[in-house]
Amino acid sequence: MNMQTRLVEVRQKVLKQNDVVARALRERFHQAGVFVVSLVSSPGSGKTAFLEKTLTLLRPHFRVAALVGDLATDNDAHRLARSQAPVRQITTGTICHLEADMVQNALADWDLNEIDFLFIENVGNLVCPASYDLGEDLRLVLFSVTEGEDKPLKYPTIFNTADVAVITKMDIAAAVEFDPAAAHNSIQSVRPGMRILEVSSKTNAGMEPWLEFLKQYAPSKSKSQSPVLANSQGALS
C-alpha cells in the first residue's frame, strides 16, 4: 500500500516523566521544609564514609535521614545506620542510577515534616546519574585523592550538573602525591566557579567548613537553633 510520510513536531524532553516526578518531590520537600542533598561519585570514592560522618555530626542538632542506592547489597545502609539516623536502602538491581520515582517510593511512609536534612546517596557511578533530577536542592560530586587530579576532565557532565565538588581521603593526599592545585584547576575548567571542599572522613579534617556550609540551608523548623559549628567543635576535637 502507498504511504505518505510527514514530519510532525513533538518537542518533548525524553526524561519528562522523571522531571515531572522530580518537580513534585522538590515541591513536597520545600513545603515540608526539608533540605535535600544528593551525593554522586565513582565506586569507592568514600561517599558512604563521608555521609556516615556527616549524619553523625549533624544528628545532635538536626533531624537527619538518608536514602542509599545500591545495585545489590544493603551494606551501605547498615554502615549509615550506625549514625543512628533513619536510613532506607533503595536496591536498584541492574539499574546503574537512581530515578525520581525510586526516591518517591522509598519516601512513601516517611513524614517529611520530621526531617530537616535528607541525604540521597546515588549508586557509585559518574556517568548515568548525571541525567536524572531527583528533586534535590544540592548535588555533591565526590572524588578521592587516589583517583587522579584529572577526574573532572574525564567526567565533565557529572561535574557540570553538580553544585559542589568534594575531594575525599585528604588524609592520604601526600602519600599518593595528590596535587590539590591541579585538581582545583580541573574542576574550575569543567565548571567555572564551582565550590570545592577538601575533607577526610577519617580525621574529620574539612568537616567543619562542610557543616558550616550546610548550616546556612538549615530549615527554620529544626529542633535546635544552636549553630552546628560551635556545637560540633567538641565532637570534632
Binding site: 514530519l7 510532525v8 513533538v10 525524553v14 526524561l15 548515568c128 541525567s131 565533565p156 550538573t161 565548571r191
Partner: protein, 122 residues
C-alpha cells in the same frame, strides 16, 4: 550504561505521541542530543535497536542530531561556543563561564509518521 533506560523512555514517549494522534505508524523519531546530556549517541543508537525489538515500533528509526554546547559569555555579553566540554571558557575571549545555554538537550523534536493514501487528506 543507562542508554537502555533512555531508549525505553524514548519509546514510551513515541507511543504516547502516536496514540495521541490516533495510533499512527511512526517511521522515525528525531532526537536532539547535547554533549552535556550524559548520553553517548552511538550507545543510544545501539540501545534503541534493542529496545524497539518486539514492540509495535520495531522498524522505527532513531535519528540523532547532536547539539553543540553554547555558553553565555559575561564578557562578550553574548552566546558563544566554549573552548571544549572540558573547558567552559568563551572561545572568543577566554572568560570562564558556568552559564550553559545549550548542550544539555535530550529532546524528541519530531516524528516521521506514515499516512495511508486513502486516509490522507486531499
Amino acid at each position: 550504561m543507562h542508554e537502555l533506560s533512555i531508549a525505553l523512555s524514548i519509546l514510551d514517549l513515541v507511543e504516547e505521541e502516536a496514540q495521541r494522534r490516533g495510533g499512527v505508524r511512526v517511521l522515525a523519531v528525531h532526537l536532539k542530543l547535547g554533549p552535556l546530556s550524559g548520553v553517548v549517541a552511538e550507545a543510544l543508537s545501539s540501545a534503541f535497536e534493542l529496545a524497539r525489538e518486539g514492540t509495535s515500533f520495531d522498524t522505527c528509526r532513531l535519528e540523532i542530531t547532536e547539539v553543540p554546547i553554547v555558553v553565555f559569555c559575561p564578557n562578550c555579553k553574548s552566546e558563544q561556543e566554549p573552548v571544549s566540554i572540558q573547558c567552559l571558557c568563551c572561545a572568543q575571549c577566554g572568560t570562564p563561564t558556568p552559564q550553559v545555554i545549550h548542550g544539555q538537550e535530550m529532546d524528541v523534536s519530531a516524528m516521521e509518521i506514515a499516512d495511508e493514501y486513502a486516509n490522507a487528506p486531499g
